[in-house]
Subunit: 591 residues, 2 copies
């Protein structure tokens, strides 16, 4: 920093593709601070260093920052300054702030430049001394890509490119540059193995009337993939050539980008010559979010497989508990993974399983480690949030299950969460409705009881792609994207009592059109996930008859769809567990 006359530097958690998960190559923030959470920003000045992260990571960050000299700044607390304000208070007018524009979203850097320039501070966007300092820095991932056959993708790459181009033209642009890895994987019907849990390949794409270019390391291209891309009319260039390519775009060309999903370096090169058309939702992401008939058929099939794995796992765990076997959080992760991996077209997990017993369940992003690994005791509740990637779809399911008799207060809170889950599942809404309008349905029972949960009630889910995808969401925050037929969104209310327990119930929802009246089109949700909800945890006196009807119908559907795929013994278990009034799960202990 001294050599470069930089007085503060900002290290975000993002990479050149501004994704949620980052390949090891770009985990600069983790490398420099030791803090491994998914969200957090480090700021370093001549004599101070700080990490800003949110409440999900307060405990973990405190632990990991011990003895590093890095101060933890807890975002969201009233006394915590924004890191930008903190920098202003530490620096003097005329001093400089260093940023690595290659790994920072263009929209964020633009805001920082505007903010700091108002404070008479300079921003240098090419500050990246990390290659020199970082010994044994991991390389850019070089895993082979593979083609996702059209029988899974449902639409050819050629047709998707046509659709994207039509939208680019509608936006009065000539070309679009895409850096988001899941968008690229969707567009080209290719998948890869470069990012943990996300089956994507590190790459960029440029799409114009003239040509479609995929920028990808040749190491990744098997003969099959190369031949496929050629057949689909896609030109291939080296990954690093993206900058040369956009430098050579003719002056005055109109380029469509989403500045929140393109890094600042590309943006600044583009802005030298081109007219940038900014969009907050890239048309390819809109197209990706509306699943086609093949994808929907795939996800329905995946839900059966995932449901079978969940049921077998639940039976297994229940037996172990009844037999007083020791079973830990990590055992559960492993068991679940084993049952899933036995299913057809299984590819891997879609995110790190959260298996949290008791107080661990209250840590929304709990990650069991050999050190934290708790034994599951027959007197509480266990929260299991897990999912898988299959060639024919992606799953994400949370169940909270009793491991023995539980106090009434836990049942009451479980039932409030369930009421929210059911009310959202029962939503009917006119075309144009956005997630923020429906979010209250998932929360109102909790709000009435003076409780809440601070994560979203729902996120989009990809098809054999990222388990979190946009553009839609169901949150307390405003997101202008309406919920459209064909979108898959999670339904996951919860409640977390720090130090005690956590509850979450998560299914995936498909938006479907249900009727057209004089008042327009109306949509509703079809619940896709097939897995019983623990009836031992329900206080039926708190459910309305509409809610009881939903639950019974849901459980009947779960039974009808899964029973043919289970053994007679397993089907019998399922039949017993879905009865609201007399679940025999812990019968022997009831007496």
């Amino acid at each position: 920093m001294q050599c470069e006359q930089v007085h503060a530097c900002i290290i975000p958690s993002t990479d050149p593709h501004i994704g949620e998960y980052t390949p090891a190559r770009w985990k600069t923030r983790s490398w420099i601070s030791g803090f491994t959470g998914s969200a957090g920003t480090v700021v370093i000045t001549k004599d101070k260093a700080g990490l800003w992260t949110d409440s999900r990571y307060f405990l973990q960050a405190e632990e990991q920052l011990k003895d590093t000299g890095i101060v933890l700044y807890k975002e969201g607390l009233p006394e915590t300054p924004a890191f930008s304000d903190w920098i202003v208070s530490e620096l003097s007018a005329g001093e400089s702030i260093g940023i690595e524009g290659d790994v920072y979203a263009a929209s964020d850097v633009k805001s920082l430049i505007e903010y700091f320039s108002g404070k008479n501070l300079n921003v240098r966007t090419d500050f990246a001394p990390y290659d020199l300092l970082w010994e044994n820095r991991p390389a850019i991932p070089a895993n082979p890509a593979f083609v996702l056959p059209e029988r899974f993708a449902g639409k050819s790459c050629r047709d998707k490119i046509k659709e994207v181009l039509a939208e680019v033209n509608k936006n009065q642009a000539d070309i679009t540059i895409i850096a988001a890895l899941d968008t690229i994987a969707w567009l080209f019907n290719i998948r890869g193995n470069d990012v943990e849990y996300n089956p994507v390949c590190v790459s960029y794409a440029a799409v114009s009337e003239k040509e479609t270019v995929l920028f990808i390391s040749p190491e990744k291209l098997t003969q099959e993939v190369s031949a496929y891309l050629q057949k689909e009319g896609v030109a291939v260039a080296e990954y690093e050539k993206i900058t040369d390519y956009i430098r050579r775009i003719p002056s005055g060309t109109k380029v469509l980008i989403n500045p929140a999903k393109v890094n600042y370096r590309l943006y600044s090169i583009l802005s030298e010559n081109c007219i940038i058309k900014e969009t907050t939702v890239h048309p390819a992401d809109s197209l990706k979010s509306i699943k086609n008939a093949t994808e929907i058929a795939g996800i329905r099939n995946v839900m059966k497989k995932d449901g079978v794995a969940m049921v077998k796992f639940l039976i297994d765990m229940e037996k172990a508990l009844k037999n007083n076997e020791t079973i830990t959080e990590l055992d559960i992760e492993e068991k679940l993974s084993t049952y899933r991996s036995g299913q057809d077209f299984y590819y891997g997990e879609s995110f790190k399983t959260i298996s949290g017993y008791g107080a661990h369940g209250a840590i929304v992003h709990y990650d069991a480690t050999p050190e934290s690994n708790a034994a599951v005791l027959p007197d509480g509740i266990l929260l299991i949030d897990s999912g898988a990637q299959y060639f024919d779809g992606t799953t994400d399911i949370t169940r909270t299950v009793s491991t023995g008799q539980v106090p009434e207060i836990i049942k009451r809170n479980f039932t409030y969460v369930l009421k929210g889950h059911i009310q959202l599942a029962l939503a009917v809404f006119p075309a144009g409705t956005v997630g923020m309008q429906l979010d209250v349905l998932a929360r109102h029972a909790l709000w009435k009881a003076g409780m809440n949960f601070l994560h979203g009630a729902g996120h989009g889910v990809g098809c054999f792609l990222n388990v979190h995808e946009g553009p839609q969401s169901i949150r307390m925050n405003y997101n202008p994207t309406p919920l459209e037929p064909g979108m898959i969104t999670s339904n996951e209310p919860g409640v977390y009592l720090a130090g005690e327990y956590g509850i979450r119930i998560e299914n995936l929802l498909l938006t479907v059109k249900v009727k057209t009246t004089d008042f327009g089109d109306f949509y509703a949700f079809e619940t896709l996930t097939l897995c019983p909800i623990d009836t031992c945890l329900i206080d039926c006196s708190l459910l309305s008859s509409e809610e009881i009807d939903w639950l019974n119908a849901y459980h009947q559907k779960v039974y009808d769809q899964l029973a043919p795929l289970l053994s007679i013994e397993e089907a019998k278990w399922l039949k017993e567990r879905i009865i609201l009034s007399s679940n025999p799960k812990f019968d022997d202990k009831h007496s």
Copy 2:
């Protein structure tokens, strides 16, 4: 236009104060087109003229534009061009568009300038030939102002100015300019008679540490008002002097304004010298929206008076119907007004009463005229939306009442609307919640039945001020203002079947804090309005027990509060009418 080399001119419905209602002086759009609706824009070119208005006014505009040569453009239909696009299609590059910046919101003019400059068209913002052309143009209203005593206002002008100044400083500004008439009336605790239904005076205000200046015509200032303003430390200047005043603001002064509520002329003068700090919600409007204890006590009292007037009116109407007397929509307006005007501190109506029988009820902004005036027959439903200004508060209430036996389908739809009304009334929500999050509660029963209503579920209401005020709202559209304790907001779901009937049930709600838990502060609504809901129109089988409990508790409260103010006979009527199972309203016809 030819003399001035203007090729198109735009005439909006607004005035220099950008209010909802416009004094006759500035009804330029009505004068030039003959169309008297509250919303609409006229565009005139060399050989064409068009009026753009929304669905509320399609029928009225068609009628009023007959033989004018002005073409009606129906906003909201897919085939209707925006007037800006239409102008672009009619003009040639380099031509000019004339606007009267004095009566157009600064934010709108800025958008138009940006849009047209991208199309190589010039915008002149001083095009105002109307004084020359408009024979007998009404003068600026010159009605006397009066002081609203502190026993009604609850806080002195001096204290309000201090609070506003503190907020101006927080926004890092030195001075604020206010053009919104209700904001000025609130700030100075003065009222007037310049705008229909809104008890305000035409004026501007400037507030800074140095001085507070009220720009108002001296004709309006009685000796009492002058003395009062002097006592409160308010300087007075002539209404027209606002432009000189802002021209003399020292260069570099930071001026806080809401550009949606300041006209473009003032904005452009300010922008010559000053640094403009824009806000979407003026801090005075935020302060105004949080009613103080005196105002809340006032509105509670007003609700009793308004409820008594409504009950007496309902008894009267019921009698007339039973006696087969002819009673028309206009009779109803008059009767209601008579009962209200007998109440203490009555000042006038808070908006034009909507009294719509049968199909007229489906016209959301129906305004009965001698021509349209329908007789109320004993076989349908009547929608009455009315309100009053009292010195101690403003009311706004809608009741839909049966005038005889009605078919089950009407009862079903009434009950869906009622369910929405009750669900919104029962809302509990954490601090920070905005109206868009709660809006679904008022609509979900309708949505499930494939119906909807296109107006907001709730708007803010002033205290002896405008019946529609911001900044909060409960709508399908996003509005970032949270609902705060002390705010008064309407709860008015409805459903409208064109050509058949309309249903709306409207009460006013006070936001109150109900509890603080580990999850923060939680708020709820207290229903303020006191008037029975027609139980003859309810299909009880569609109500949940929670909804029935709310209705019975509400009616009990209505009875308890109003009965002491009614005659024994009237109280008996009220007691009978609020019984859910056996309302004897049309008993004789039941048999």
